[in-house]
Every structure is written in C-alpha cells, then in structure tokens.
Symmetry: C2
Subunit: 202 residues, 2 copies
DNA sequence: CGCCCTTCTTGAACGCGTTCAAATCGAGGT
DNA sequence: ACCTCGATTTGAACGCGTTCAAGAAGGGCG
C-alpha cells in the first residue's frame, strides 16, 4: 500500500487511483480520508524534497541573495515535475477551510517547516538586517515564496521560464530591501512592516 | 429571469437555483453556461458596486492615503454581505484556468476596470510619485488589493475586523513607500520594482 | 394549413468525490 | 472446530456540476 500513493499522483480521480491499485474505491478511502489527504501527503513530500534540494546551496553559499535564489529555485525545481498537476493542487489549497491552505491552522506545521527553511537562508548568511526585522523576515520571505508559487502555477511559458526570471528579478530586490532596512530613513517603514506582520498573525 | 441571478446567489447548487426559479436544471444551463458564469456575473456586479461605493471618497479626498483607504474599505464593504459565499467564490477563482482568476486573460476587462479605479486613486491625489513608477503604481495597488481580499477571505474575525485593521495598517505603509519612491537612495529599488512588474506582465 | 427553423424546456444520465451498510478475512481465545 | 472481534474490502448510492437527446412552442414562409 505504500506504493499506492506514488502511483496515484499521476492520476486525478480516486476511481483511477483505486483501479490502478487494484482495489475498490471505498478501500482508497479506508487508507486515505480523502483525496485531499492524498494531496496533503504529496505536499509534505515536496516540502521535504525542497529542503533536501536546497541543502547544497545552503551549505555552499554565505551570500544572502545567493542563498535565497538557491532556495527559491530549488522550490521550483521540486515542483516542476508536477506542473500539470498544479492547477488541481492549487485549487484545493485555495479553499480557505482546506487543511492545505498555506494560511490554515492545520498547515501550521508545514508552514513552520517552510519558514524555518527561510530562517536558515537568513541565519547562515552574511546579511545584516535590522534587529527588529530579523525575527519577522523568514515569514516575509515565505510569503514571497508563496507569491512565486502563485506565479508559477499560472505560468504557461515553456518550463515555466518566466517564473525563473521572476526569481532572478526578485532576489536582488529583496536583497537590496533587506540591506536598506537598517537605514535611518527607512526605520519607520521597517517598523510599519513589522506591525503589519503582527496584524496578519492575530 | 433577471431575478434568477439575485436569488441564486444565496444558494450554492444549480439544482437549488433551478428549483428556486421553478425551472429544470438543464434550463439553468441554457441561460448560464455554467455555475462559474453565474459567479462571474456576481463578480462583475461587485466590481461596479465597488466603484460606486468608492466614488464619494474619491470625490471628497485629495490625500493619497485617504483615497486609498477609502477605496480599500469600500471594496470590503461591498464584499462583506457575501463573506459566507467567499470560500466558494475564492476556490473557483483560484483555478488558474478559470475565467474568474484575477490573473487570467478572460479577466482582463474586470482587472483593467479595477486597476483603473486605483489609477483614479492616484491621479486624483496630491501624491508625488517617481515618474517611472507612476504608470506601474495602479497595478501594484491592485495587487495589494488582491492581497487584502485574500486576507479577507481567510478572515474569521467578527465582521472581518482584522481585514479592516490590515487596511488601516497597510495604507500608511504604502503611502510612505510611495512618498519615498522618489528618494535618490531608493531609485535603484524603484527601478527594480518596475522591472519586476514588467517580468510579471509578459 | 403544413412545414421548417429557432428558441426554450426537460429530465435522465454522466463522472466526480464521498459515504456507509454489508461482507469477508485473519487472528486469538475457548 | 467454533466464536468473537477488529481490520479490511466492497460496491451501490448520494449530491454535485454538467451534458444532451428529445420534446414543446412560436413564428415565418410557401
């Protein structure tokens, strides 16, 4: 039954999944509460793969921008084989009540894991960040990643090359903004961003 | 049949809609290509309402922040009666191939209309904006609005008061960023943002 | 008037995700 | 060997969005 999951991903219906596994439809539901749980497993899998795929870059690079780019590109690398799958996945995740929604309480563990990855980007880097912003930055980076994924899902260019370009364009911008966050002129902005993050949280 | 649409909104199934209107299910499909088209009509309706609800503020205020806050709050005002409906709507809109997706080519007209509203926020205001950023700013403001709507959909606080707080927190931040955009130190940032917007577009 | 065409209406049926009562299987105990 | 219990399996059925062949009604033309 372990193989049940891997084989199912290429299919889109529970009936096809059940048929592929040589069982009845009801049996598929016995092992997985729903199709959504199947997708959830898939999601958790890609999270782990993302961390693994990002590890070489994180071990090698100290520069914040390089680390961030590495992690973002790794994320897209991991997701790419499933692009044809993405629309379905995204639609499911978009349900505000879905445990798959990036913003749901059920997703807090995967979300925290993802945010932790971005925390690692930051902590292993030489970036100098405003002291107040620093704890909030991983979450902001995660939100940026969510934006990238959103774009990726909609990206119809060959091999989602546009998403790659977006990353390559966004990383230097984020890098620069992070660098500027300690600037005296921008301290009120930094403060406001932090306040906003707190609003978002509670 | 004109009333068909209004009555249908409170229901969630085509069967209930058809029953409510005293016709057969197939007949509902005769008049509307799909449930999605029904939702599309609803969406177009809220767009018009948004513009109307924002008009007093736009007529009265010259201050950029006040105008922006007025438009954002008006948007939430218009959507509020439908919050119980929002999850369904949002899930439909999240389908990348859906004509309802804010990012789809089919939605270009409603999107342009919405962006035009934010352009009006800008043009009727006293804000001084970087000359290069100015043409791109309405779209950025629209994206911010999309973020607010995203938050609103997920907001379970009473009367979505959290979303109101988010707006009240975000507006001064946007205002300040817009004001800073002409700063010499930030010109590279401004340039990068504009480049990024172009990446997003093509 | 009859025929043809267009428009509108119907309801059974399709595939989807899901449910659940009934049946089967296997292990342990007497 | 039989019984009990828990685990596993089954497939019909449910509601959902949607489709579509067939039927009904109305209008125009010969």
């Amino acid at each position: 039954m372990r193989l049940f999951r891997e084989r199912g991903y290429a299919r889109t219906t529970m009936r096809a999944i059940a048929q592929e596994a040589g069982v009845a439809v009801g049996n598929a539901y016995y092992y997985f509460g729903s199709k959504e749980h199947l997708i959830q497993e898939f999601y958790a899998g890609t999270q782990h793969e993302h961390r693994a795929a990002a590890a070489p870059t994180l071990a090698r690079e100290r520069d914040f921008a390089a680390r961030l780019a590495g992690v973002l590109h790794a994320g897209v690398d991991v997701l790419t084989p499933y692009h044809s799958f993405a629309a379905t996945f995204f639609k499911t995740a978009a349900e505000p009540t879905s445990p798959l929604s990036p913003f749901s309480s059920e997703s807090s563990e995967p979300r925290e894991a993802s945010i932790a990855l971005f925390r690692e980007v930051l902590e292993g880097s030489t970036a100098r960040v405003d002291a107040e912003l620093r704890p909030a930055l991983p979450e902001l980076l995660w939100l940026a990643y969510m934006g990238v994924v959103l774009y990726w899902v909609h990206d119809r260019s060959p091999a989602q090359v546009k998403t790659r370009q977006l990353i390559d364009g966004a990383v230097p911008l984020v890098d620069r903004l992070v660098g500027l966050s300690r600037l005296r002129v921008l301290r009120p902005v930094t403060r406001q961003v932090i306040t906003l993050i707190h609003t978002l949280r509670h």
